[in-house]
Subunit: 409 residues, 2 copies
Amino acid sequence: MSVLVQKFGGTSVADKECMERVLVRVQRALEQGHKVVVVLSAMAGETNRLLTMAKEWSDRPDPAEMDVLVSTGEQTSIALFTMLCKDSGVKARSLLGHQAPITTDCAFGKARILTIDHERINTLLEHNDVLVVAGFQGADCNDRITTLGRGGSDTTAVAIAAAVKAKECEIYTDVDGVYTTDPNICSKARKRNFITYDEMLETASMGAKVLQIRSVEFAKKYNVPVHVRSTFSDSPGTLVTKEDKRMEAVMVSGIALDKDQARFTLQGVMDRPGIAAAIYTPLAEAGVVVDMIIQNTSREGVTDMTFTAQRQDLEKTLEILEKVKQEVGATDLHYDTNVCKVSVIGVGMRHHSGVAATAFNALKDENINILLISTSEIKITCLIEEKYTELAVRTLHDTFELDKGPYGG
Amino acid sequence: MSVLVQKFGGTSVADKECMERVLVRVQRALEQGHKVVVVLSAMAGETNRLLTMAKEWSDRPDPAEMDVLVSTGEQTSIALFTMLCKDSGVKARSLLGHQAPITTDCAFGKARILTIDHERINTLLEHNDVLVVAGFQGADCNDRITTLGRGGSDTTAVAIAAAVKAKECEIYTDVDGVYTTDPNICSKARKRNFITYDEMLETASMGAKVLQIRSVEFAKKYNVPVHVRSTFSDSPGTLVTKEDKRMEAVMVSGIALDKDQARFTLQGVMDRPGIAAAIYTPLAEAGVVVDMIIQNTSREGVTDMTFTAQRQDLEKTLEILEKVKQEVGATDLHYDTNVCKVSVIGVGMRHHSGVAATAFNALKDENINILLISTSEIKITCLIEEKYTELAVRTLHDTFELDKGPYGG
């Protein structure tokens, strides 16, 4: 039994006409001899409608009940789409998260998938040609409804693909694949034919919204080939897959950027053990995602602590830092929202030296000052002034000749 | 543990303000020391919105998927209401049909409840003060979502009350109880304090839409006291309960009417064995509910067959009868939609004779011609010309002195 998983987002199931286009894709997969698991999101706008409703009812809606509410969005999608399937003579049935069952932990609103009953899904696929699965939802061990967080339908799709050992997990979206950089900023940006899980993870963490980051982690863990492609075109998209020899040949495969950043600095902090914990623990507890953390070498027992966080957490972060400032006896607190993160990404970096130097030189040649630097095995990130964003992206794209990939990577 | 079940219909949960009024009632029950099971319908208009949506998608929506779709209505209600509970510090949680679980047969769209896991509900009530249960829905033995048909939330409430041996099942609605007859027709109509299950069944079958008929059957079977009362007033409503001595003392307790009727007559039917089956089998198969069936004594081997059915089934019924007419060799087919059923109802009839004669005389005195008569142990039904409906109801109400009940029954 060859199984194909196809996931369609909210804009792909926005109305009946959209769903009919989805049906055509499903039927094509059936003609090719596959059984198909279709994972659907809520119809475009529906989740926001439900969230707005909840906010009218409560300033801080109970998270468990919130999940009961918002999970109706996907339930509506799968019921309507399965009706279309049946009307076309396709042997199909819908499947809710708790029916699969997709078992999650009980972190309502951001649950993690623990197990999927692959035997049950396989049995259902023996009796049906198409299973229409509600994305984004599961059930905890007490059979309470949970949701996986925004974009969670990607994770549902990849997790089911892993569970039933699907040939491929197709993610249909409104872009036609993953690009070497943002095409809106750099006209030379090229669609990639392949990208590794690790590169995709770094790209996703940089705010590229093509795939939910957790779905990529899942795909990597279970080695699920993920095909990101357009709902509105038949051309192949980008295959997210494990690293192979061809990819290692390429040093740099993409330039990512993230404008939703702010930089914070606590100056004149006494450099003593536990000081970092004193600063970052309350931030973590408040749910502030702290990114590039830089601590300068201490001078005369005094140091500066700098980090970046998301701009949407600005007020919360400042509030916490004001308190921390008193506690740790810092002399000053600065912040800056006119900043942007630009990253050079590539698995090939592991086997090539000099990538960082090349990147820094390229930025220097354009008189772009680098405010902070952080690096990982396959990424070099520079925080720069926001006004240089586009220039920096184009410069780096040119420098690493990303418009001329040897294998289309 | 004293448990009270409170059921609220769609108009009682139409918006946030309505739900806040419901919350007040629930809190009052909590103050009185009860644990409360709240059964909610979909918010007013929501089920129709979903049905309209389904019809846009499919001319004949798959019944199983239809249930997946419409059950989101109650899911939305219980999530929002439970949010309100939690915000007020009430220890509450929502409970969907499949979570209870309320197990039904697999007749999608009109499922019947088979079992309710009372142990699980009791356990949940030990950990919560309020359980907010989605009405109208259950799950079949394959864990597929089912719905109980329009008005099914009443049945959910009564069934849960039976399962957990609740003190009472309160049904909140937009009328303040059950009346001796329709107050819009007869200004002397009086709200009843009590009504027996059997009387309620006869009233419900006569089109009085206060309670879903199946919920009354359930209440009777498990002896659940059902209190029909108004969402918008604090005065006691009508208690639906088993027969007691006081009730037997009253011959007649109510006058019911049903205007949604049509009369059909097949004339000149050969009176031979199997002829009734030949007529009524195809009607039953088409889902036509046939009511008062009258077969005159045969004269010279030829008879007339007359029955009533609901006016909404008029075209379907005539279509079938035209065929049947050929098959059984009837000479004529007549029908009449200007008719109305008026019934005199009372458990006391079992112990009193002469009720029928009194009723017939009362109608005769007003020159109201009786077209058909049918009787049960506790009901006498007359089909009359529709134009006499109001006069007949008032006359019978006066005749049996229903404006002066001895025990308020």
